[in-house]
Symmetry: C2
Subunit: 141 residues, 2 copies
């Protein structure tokens, strides 16, 4: 994430507490909205999985990104990582209660998107097929 640090907001005179919250909100939102997190969480929602299984089920992810995504989720306490001291190694990832809770909160947004995806697609098409017309202006008097 390239996201601005609190300093940017702070220097505008915003209260520190509020800054921290805004920052964290965006941080979480950004993580959920990033390229792989949502898919990973969704896949994990059906049950614990080991690294390789995740690598297969999260379509198209690279080892690098999977590892990175899982570490971020683990760090936030959304996912547990359990390594069994065997050889070859076995590591299982699972959603924590907090992770499941987030997953449910995200579901709200997912449902919103589902129920409004028609509108969005329509709006985009309309917008894209208006090359000349540009944005109309209607003087309100």
């Amino acid at each position: 994430m390239t996201h601005l640090r609190g300093a940017d907001l702070a220097q505008r005179g915003v209260a520190p507490d509020c800054v921290q919250t805004i920052e964290l909100v965006r941080d979480v939102l950004a993580r959920v909205g990033d390229k792989w997190t949502l898919l990973t969480i969704t896949v994990l929602a059906s049950g614990p999985l080991r690294f390789t299984a995740l690598h297969e089920q999260v379509a198209g992810i690279s080892q690098r990104m999977l590892s990175q995504t899982l570490r971020a989720l683990t760090r936030d306490g959304l996912v547990t990582r359990t390594a069994y001291p065997e050889v070859p190694p076995r590591v299982e990832y699972a959603l924590t209660p907090l992770g499941r809770s987030l997953s449910e909160a995200v579901d709200g947004l997912v449902h919103w998107v589902r129920s409004h995806q028609g509108d969005i697609v329509r709006n985009r098409d309309e917008f894209d097929q208006t090359p000349a017309a540009k944005t109309a202006a209607s003087p309100h008097a």
Copy 2:
């Protein structure tokens, strides 16, 4: 967004309809989670504003990014752009009903973050202050 196009999922044999939905969900999530959209929507939630006003109220955003963010939101039908044919030009941006609706859906997530931010911060601290211990392994038998 660098996000993968449907092809990546499709080539794994996922149903086209589902792919499109997943893609759009992540697309919307990514937009909401990006560096500026959430702030912009939040600011617009209190009422219509013109370009310069937004530029001032969305702390730290550049003209380029503001313009870009607003166009994306307008394209999706989340924001209206009204240009008054005056000189100097005046352009007002406002949330559409769809935009407000999204804003409310996002609020759910925002509240989740607010009520769990303590946990998250705690988890991060704990994770970061465990340099040696690494992830513990508990053989279950």
